[in-house]
């Protein structure tokens, strides 16, 4: 075992490089800046492009252009930047532009506290775009997850042609920790499926009603149309309600129908327990300590750590929770993901503890909620 001493942000950059990312654009913002720094170190010497946009809107705009030219693209920011990304995120959803967006969450609202952590954007990432169509959000627990889940994020962006968020947190992003990088198993790299060039190219024609269209890049010999307007399969504006409906349904279904294929999670279940603790992100680390202490004290508890947050992995949550009388959700906000847990577990007692004051939730605080 050889350990590297890296922060979560560098692990994300390493994951991006491993996934085949060749284009990054971002605007400096604490606590996401060191992703930009790392991409600037890694990308240009390998022939990739790393740019600093004049603002966040430009940075993600560069990425959307480059993605449609066939590049795997990454951008990274924090809450204030996600706000500025919003209209471009809607564009990427509606026009099926693959992009990985790292949101290193910091304490809000608004400019808030740059060097303090929170998980305050969990619903914002899902719903912070016009139309309300889904995105994918993955939540790492530590630097090792930052590395591994970033590779998955690229794969998912390529496969489903949508924005994929890596929902990090200052407390993971800017904490340096020992990681055995070589021991982390990475998935096989997926690249978006090229369209058949022998047939006339319809840029938004999908094979099924729950999949993404095959891709051809802007700039090759086949002329490609991309548009933010409501479009038919040919990429031109459509006003046909049936065509529009089929398109919107497909954007919804292409993600929600397949979430079981990309439900990442950790589980530490105790057959004696009657309580299931649910915690994600950095809070899952305090939860592990609390669970171990609780068990040592003779009160068995089970722990579920979802790492795919959106679309909500409903099957995982329902199947895991069915053996427990009580579910406890702990998160670094005033109650965001607990809404989803309560929604998919009607009739179940779901208790909540949240804290959003810039401090990590302590294991002892979780034990008090469990008691």
């Amino acid at each position: 075992m050889a350990l590297s001493f890296i922060e979560g942000n560098e692990a994300i950059a390493l994951g991006a490089m491993a996934a085949g990312c060749s284009f990054f654009a971002g605007y400096p913002i604490t606590p996401a800046t060191t992703i930009y720094n790392a991409m600037l170190k890694y990308l240009p010497p390998e022939g990739g492009v790393c740019l600093q946009g004049e603002d966040e809107i430009a940075s993600i705009g560069y990425c959307l252009g480059a993605s449609m030219a066939g590049r795997k693209v990454l951008t990274a920011t924090s809450g204030p930047g996600i706000s500025l990304y919003s209209e471009q995120i809607s564009f990427a959803i509606g026009s099926e532009i693959p992009i990985v967006i790292v949101n290193v969450q910091r304490l809000g609202p608004s400019t808030g506290s740059a060097p303090k952590g929170a998980d305050g954007d969990i619903q914002f990432m899902r719903w912070g775009s016009s139309s309300g169509l889904p995105v994918i959000v993955l939540a790492p627990v530590d630097a090792a997850d930052c590395y591994r889940l970033t590779v998955h994020a690229f794969n998912l962006a390529e496969q489903y042609r949508c924005p994929v968020f890596v929902a990090s947190n200052k407390e993971i992003a800017m904490t340096r920790e020992s990681v055995d990088l070589d021991a982390i198993e990475l998935p096989t790299i997926i690249t978006r499926k090229p369209a058949d060039r022998s047939a006339p190219f319809l840029p938004f024609a999908a094979r099924t009603d729950d999949s993404a269209p095959d891709f051809l890049p802007i700039g090759d010999s086949t002329v490609v149309r991309q548009t933010s307007s409501t479009h038919g399969t040919n990429g031109y504006i459509t006003v046909d309600p049936d065509e529009i409906d089929a398109f919107q349904q497909r954007l919804e279904k292409k993600l929600t129908a397949h979430v079981d294929d990309f439900t990442f999670f950790d589980q530490d279940l105790d057959p004696q327990a009657d309580t299931l603790l649910v915690a994600y992100g950095v809070t899952a680390r305090a939860a592990r300590v609390a669970v171990a202490a609780s068990r040592s004290a003779g009160s068995p508890v089970s722990l579920l750590t979802p790492k795919t947050l959106w679309p909500v992995p409903e099957r995982l949550i329902v199947d895991t929770a069915k053996h427990y009388d009580r579910v406890v959700v702990v998160e670094m906000n005033t109650g965001q993901y607990v809404r989803e847990i309560r929604r998919v577990l009607p009739g179940k007692t779901v208790d909540f503890f949240g804290q959003m004051n810039g401090n990590l939730i302590k294991p002892q605080q979780i034990r008090e909620v469990l008691a």
Binding site: P45, L51, G65
Partner: protein, 431 residues
């Protein structure tokens, strides 16, 4: 000559709209240059200029209002061989002003066609960033209070190496557009035109009055001498090609036996300039040479060389779950600013916690075991105090050993600095 006009989607504008003339001129320019449709990308945004991409058999990228230049930048950096044309109205110009200025400064090889017709045609003729103050538009009196922007002058001031101002009714418009596209760098063509649907209903504007107005303005006829310079994309690639390959994170093997067991938390409370963060890193690396897992969190203000600097470290034989400090084995107190930052911690400390404090530093009340070091008397300079404390821990074989510390220093620093640091460690250990 081949036309790139999409025969299936003929241009549709209001009768008398000058945009239609620009579509024809752009097509003629493509033909003159012998450009095939697959060699061209037209990038557009919202407004009537945003219809352009649908009229041509070229690659097309239609996006959000004012953001066309951002997509074009990404496309061009990803596909340098493409001819990228951006169409934008005076609306996009205003809302996307930051992108216009940045593109001028950057000088990437794009052509921006500004279809300047002095109002927001699509939304009802409201004022834009170029609406004259005396014009009657859909924004009531508001445009009377704002000075219109002269985009050609602004672009030149922002560093655009090619600015051309003309009328959409120019008899040589196609040549003017072709010259701009052929320019290797960022080119902007400011084309004044008429919006019969909204603007000219209430304002007198004709091809003649446009010509007359243009003669009153500073002329822009292509290259801007003071701004001529190498193109961004090729400079980027040339510079990047000379960069050394990046080195990834080092792998640290376990070589030593740790002198302690179980989770160990350490806190260094200092001030900027005391190399606190570096000491924190060294401590963690030292632990890792014994196969321990480590975490390091730093807390410092935005100022450099002023204010507190606090590092929190955890060493553990197991991967570290909770990274907070609850029961520190050691607290190193080197500056009052750092102590103030964690002042509430001290009340909870018991005798099992060792506090190493620099002489002269005040501590809040606590039951911790305190060791005071007079660094000044030992002639150790302030920036070395944190490392000296690590050496003190190593000397006592507390959490880290001398071997572990020296190995970390050798790993972290180039030889001459490492030698100096190891010299300091020997001084402390030998004292």
């Amino acid at each position: 000559m081949n036309s790139l006009i999409n025969a299936n989607r003929p241009p549709v504008f209001c009768p008398g709209c000058s945009h239609e003339r620009v579509v024809a001129a752009l097509d003629k320019a493509f033909a003159k240059m012998g450009l095939e449709g697959d060699r061209v990308a037209i990038v557009s945004d919202i407004g009537c200029s945003g219809l352009f991409d649908t009229f041509f058999n070229t690659h097309a990228f239609h996006g959000l209002h004012g953001r066309a230049l951002t997509y074009a930048m990404g496309l061009k950096m990803a596909r340098p061989e493409l001819t990228v044309i951006v169409t934008m109205g005076d609306g996009g110009l205003g809302i996307g002003g930051a992108h216009v200025l940045s593109t001028c400064r950057r000088n990437i090889d794009l052509t921006l066609l500004v279809l300047n017709n002095f109002n927001y045609g699509m939304t009802g003729g409201q004022c834009s960033s170029t609406t004259p103050q005396e014009a009657i538009v859909g924004s009531g009196f508001l445009n009377q209070l704002e000075k219109p922007i002269d985009i050609s002058s602004v672009a030149a001031a922002a560093g655009a190496p090619y600015v051309h101002r003309t009328s959409s009714y120019s008899s040589v418009l196609a040549d003017e557009i072709a010259a701009a596209i052929e320019f290797n760098g960022f080119s902007l063509v400011d084309m004044w035109g008429m919006c019969p649907g909204r603007y000219t209903k209430r304002n007198k504007l004709t091809p003649k009055t446009i010509d007359a107005a243009l003669t009153q303005l500073p002329p822009f006829k292509g290259p801007v001498e003071v701004n001529l310079r190498p193109e961004y994309g090729s400079s980027y690639r040339d510079t990047a090609a000379r960069l050394p390959a990046a080195v990834g994170p080092a792998r640290i093997d376990a070589r030593f036996q740790p002198p302690a067991a179980g989770r160990q938390e350490v806190l260094i409370l200092g001030s900027a300039g005391q190399r606190i963060v570096t000491a924190g890193e060294i401590f963690c690396l030292a632990g890792m040479t014994a196969g321990w897992h480590a975490t390091l969190k730093n807390d410092y203000p935005i100022t450099v060389l002023r204010g507190h600097s606090v590092s929190e470290m955890v060493l553990s034989p197991e991967p570290v779950d909770y990274t907070g400090i609850e029961r520190p084995a050691v607290v190193v107190a080197l500056a009052d600013e750092g102590v103030a930052r964690r002042k509430t911690l001290f009340a909870g400390l018991g005798p099992e916690t060792l506090v190493i404090k620099a002489a002269g530093i005040g501590l809040p009340e606590s039951n911790a075991t305190v060791m005071e070091i007079d660094f000044r008397a030992r002639k150790i300079k302030t920036p070395d105090w944190a490392l000296a404390c690590l050496a003190q821990l190593a000397r006592d074989n507390r959490l880290i050993s001398v071997q572990m510390l020296k190995a970390a220093l050798a790993m972290r620093f180039k030889k001459d600095i490492a030698d100096t640091a190891i010299g300091l460690v020997d001084q402390v250990v030998g004292a």
